[in-house]
């Protein structure tokens, strides 16, 4: 898997190089590097370092690191990432209160807390605390959602 990730990084670096060559060259006359120079230089540098590291690692035949990851744990982490993704998608539609409450409850249960009632209570308290601190004290314009949810939110924050 490490080699796959290294290849991914290499691909990203190549992407930066290619992208760098396509950046507009219009700039001030004495700007030697231009807008694309810096990214290209560092992308090439990084590719070289990546290649050197790969050669050295192959020579050393370094033992694979035991990450200590468990299959079950990875699955839970993945579910949390999915929950976060869903949260980001629905946040502007459902508003801060509903989305955050549901996310908090989902995360607490996904990580393994067994009791539903306590999880719901915790989610409610956390959402309310964040709303008060950020929405009311710091005047952060938290998402309100759409339609009647938005209208309702004005009664709260």
């Amino acid at each position: 898997m490490e080699i796959v990730f290294d290849l991914f990084i290499a691909l990203v670096l190549v992407g930066f190089i290619v992208g760098g060559t396509m950046i507009s060259a219009d700039t001030v006359a004495s700007d030697l590097l231009g807008a694309g120079g810096f990214p290209i230089i560092f992308a090439i540098f990084a590719l070289v370092m990546l290649a050197v590291n790969h050669v050295l690692q192959t020579r050393r035949k370094s033992e694979t690191q035991d990450h200590g990851l468990t299959r079950e744990g990875l699955k839970k982490a993945l579910f949390i990432a999915v929950a976060l993704l869903v949260y980001i998608v629905v946040l502007s539609r459902l508003g801060f209160i509903i989305s955050t409450f549901v996310l908090c409850f989902a995360v607490v249960r996904l990580v393994g807390y067994p009791r539903n009632l306590k999880a719901m209570l915790f989610s409610f308290v956390l959402t309310a605390t964040l709303l008060i601190i950020f929405g009311k004290i710091f005047y952060i314009a938290l998402p309100r959602g759409l339609g009647f949810i938005k209208e309702l939110s004005f009664f709260i924050y």
Partner: protein, 498 residues
């Protein structure tokens, strides 16, 4: 003048307001997504009705408190509360994982207090000279400063230096996303408006550190957190004078670096902390301990970022040029009260300088009392069962990222970089080096290109400018020292084998 300055601050109402300001600063600084500048801005309206000196002293207290407060969540949750606490995360969190959260917090508070007091004294003694010197800093010097900050990459990734260099380079590359500051060209933004302003490093830090750590803890079965939870009452273990004497070199050097970098306009606490950390790694007899819970790592970061407070006030008071965002807000406070910072103000009302000094001194001392109390409240969070703690970290991270620009895009960035942080951690790349590259990239690139433009393409300009040359030499020493050290170690062990 000095006595008048002291009496100004010891006025009961002023002192009470200073306590409130410092407490507010620590609390706001501890909350991710709220920076020191936000804490000061939010306090500003409350100062309208105060007297001029009261107002300035309170804002100074908020500034000092916020610079210290960022270390609390950096240590407990691996989420720097302010950008200037990012380097505190490198060693503060590993120390907390070893069950030494109380000590880490104590060191952070002590170092913050030391740095603040040091820079306050320097500010008073040498403000006019330092301000004039700071104006000599131009693009070349900024470029060299950025290089100096980046020079610790080789030390940060001691076991896998090439991967650390790749990580830093990736950070530098990510920092180029957006509109080019010099030519206005679009770079890697794919026509997306939200990418045109570039990628803010705060949501990246929250994602790559805090969220990635949540994924990791869950993936390994949360065993890692047990050591922090075992610390039933995470009190703050205040380290005494003995600790300062034991590590006096790091305390002093970090405070000097923080003060000097703070004086340079637009440099700020985060750059001061990173450069100070870099220097601490370079000069340490045990650089391999950094990143794994080294006390000196925390000292270097916190002493420097709080020392930057006094430093940043130097150009503001002496020349009327704000040293950073926070001092720009303070300049507004001065103006609101009919005071115009500059040489005339210092000549006509010298007690203001001393009032600010005593404001910094007392606020730094108050860190011990208020910092302990507030840290204890935050540390109750880590005693919660891990499902609750993980949820708090995720929720704080989301709101913290969103709060920056009231934009969901920053939350998306936090989410995406959480995977990068997780993968970097798994495959032995360095998240710290990546963040270094991301923060220092714009300074390095703009400094380099602008200086070349000003000198009409003459690369020797970096060597002919004395300050630039000095910083370059220090950078080379900083970069080469770990390499020579490693080579010497290898030679030593080869000798033993023979």
């Amino acid at each position: 003048m000095i006595i008048q300055g002291l009496f100004n601050v010891l006025n009961p109402l002023t002192f009470l307001l200073l306590i409130v300001g410092t407490a507010w600063g620590i609390t706001a600084g501890a909350l991710p997504g709220l920076s020191a500048s936000m804490a000061v801005i939010l306090m500003l309206p409350f100062t309208y009705g105060m007297e001029a000196i009261q107002s300035i002293v309170v804002l100074v207290g908020v500034y000092v408190g916020a610079m210290c407060g960022g270390s609390i969540t950096a240590i407990l949750l691996k989420t720097p509360g302010t950008p200037s606490a990012v380097a505190t995360t490198f060693d503060g969190y590993p120390m907390a994982l070893k069950g030494q959260a109380a000590k880490a917090l104590g060191i952070a508070i002590t170092a913050s207090a030391f740095g603040g007091i040091f820079s306050g004294l320097v500010m008073v003694v040498s403000a006019p000279i330092l301000a004039v010197w700071a104006l000599k800093f131009q693009s070349a010097e900024f470029f060299m400063l950025a290089l100096l900050g980046l020079s610790c990459v080789a030390s940060i990734g001691a076991k896998f230096p090439f991967k650390a260099l790749v990580s830093a380079a990736v950070g530098l590359l990510v920092s180029t996303i957006g509109l080019d500051a010099i030519s206005g060209a679009e770079r890697y933004s794919f026509g997306q408006p939200f990418l045109m302003n570039g990628i803010d490093y705060i949501p990246v830090m929250i994602g790559a550190y805090a969220l990635a750590e949540v994924y990791r803890s869950i993936a390994i079965g949360v065993g890692n957190r047990k050591k922090i939870e075992k610390d039933k009452t995470v009190k703050t273990e205040i380290v005494g004078l003995g600790h300062i004497i034991k590590h006096w070199i790091v305390y002093l050097k970090s405070s000097i670096i923080g003060t000097i970098v703070g004086i340079i306009p637009a440099a700020g606490g985060s750059i001061a902390a990173l450069i100070s950390y870099s220097e601490a790694v370079r000069s340490s007899k045990h650089p391999e301990e950094f990143g794994k819970g080294s006390e000196e790592g925390i000292i270097a970061s916190e002493a420097a970022n709080n020392a930057a407070v006094g430093g940043s006030l130097v150009p503001t008071l002496v020349l009327g040029i704000p040293g950073g965002t926070v001092t720009a807000i303070m300049l507004a406070a001065f103006t609101m009260h009919g005071l115009i910072p500059g040489p005339l103000l210092l000549r006509n009302q010298p007690d203001i300088l001393y009032s600010i000094l005593f404001g910094i001194l007392f606020s730094s001392i108050l860190l011990f009392i208020l910092g302990i109390f507030i840290a204890r409240q935050f540390s109750k969070i880590v005693k919660l069962p891990y499902p609750f703690l993980a949820t708090i970290i995720i929720a704080l991270g989301i709101v913290g990222s969103y709060s920056l620009k009231n934009s969901l895009n920053d939350v998306i960035i936090m989410f995406l970089f959480s995977f990068l942080g997780f993968a970097f951690d798994q495959y032995r790349y360095s998240v710290s080096a990546f963040i270094l590259g991301l923060v220092l990239g714009p300074i390095a690139e703009n400094g380099l290109r602008k200086q070349l433009m000003v000198s009409e393409g003459n690369w020797l300009t970096f060597l002919t400018r004395p300050i630039s040359l000095v910083i370059l030499i220090i950078t080379l020493i900083s970069f080469l020292t770990p390499i020579f050290r490693a080579a010497r170690q290898r030679k030593k062990y080869e000798g033993i084998n023979v």
